[in-house]
Amino acid sequence: MKIAYFAWVRERIGKESETVEPPAEVATVADLVRWLKTRGEEYAYAFENEGVVRAAIDRRHVKPQTSIANAREIAFFPPMTGG
């Protein structure tokens, strides 16, 4: 599964995207965030306030409790500031 990062989430993690294979018990977006935070300081820093970072699955906004089953691309990013 591809994961993409944007804005300060991207800067903190230090990469734009990566391909990961989380274990089977990682079922939701919130599970994925908790699992990513175990992968290093940079992830722990990016997700230090779990309520702040937003997620999209296959280019649609999703909530933390959304299932990641069948997701091709999951993106994490700060609250949007366009317009």
Partner: protein, 156 residues
């Protein structure tokens, strides 16, 4: 209905976009445009850098435009959002709505701006005029409040 969503690095021409929606038509009574410009915050900023999620940004703006068309009787709607480095005084975003009636055109344009501010995947980073490291612009609670006021509101 004439409808267009574009995401581009280049500047746009509001007058040309108004003409594109109205030319050759005799059923449009009201056109409202909103242009959002880069401010220098009293000289503190030399530019804004607009990052976006390519692919999702287009789709999200299409969803926002579809929502506006479902809520108001529109004869046209255009959304253009720029990305990349944008200098103070330059345009960032353009929304144009066309309708038979002015209230629908006004409300739909305001709705599009409120919604895209909180839903379209764009992020602004400041470039400071003094050369110091610029911050990412923080999202405003005001913008969330502006967007959520449409959740219960019916078109007037």
């Amino acid at each position: 209905m004439a409808s267009a969503v574009r995401i581009q690095r280049e500047p746009f021409d509001a007058g040309a976009e108004i003409r594109a929606l109205t030319e050759g038509r005799t059923d449009i009574g009201a056109v409202v445009t909103f242009s959002g410009l880069c401010r220098d915050e009293g000289g503190a900023l030399s530019a804004l850098e607009l990052e976006h999620y390519a692919g999702m940004a287009e789709e999200e703006l299409e969803r926002v435009a579809a929502e506006a068309r479902a809520r108001w009787p529109l004869q046209g709607a255009t959304i253009i959002h720029r990305y990349g480095r944008i200098a103070p005084g330059e345009d960032i975003v353009l929304v144009v709505t066309a309708s038979t009636h002015r209230r629908a055109a006004f409300e739909a344009a305001e709705f599009l701006m409120d919604y895209l501010k909180t839903r379209a995947p764009f992020w602004k980073k400041e470039h400071r005029a003094d050369g110091a490291r610029g911050d990412w612009v923080a999202a405003k609670d005001d913008d969330d409040a502006a967007a959520s006021r449409w959740d219960s509101k019916k078109p007037g």
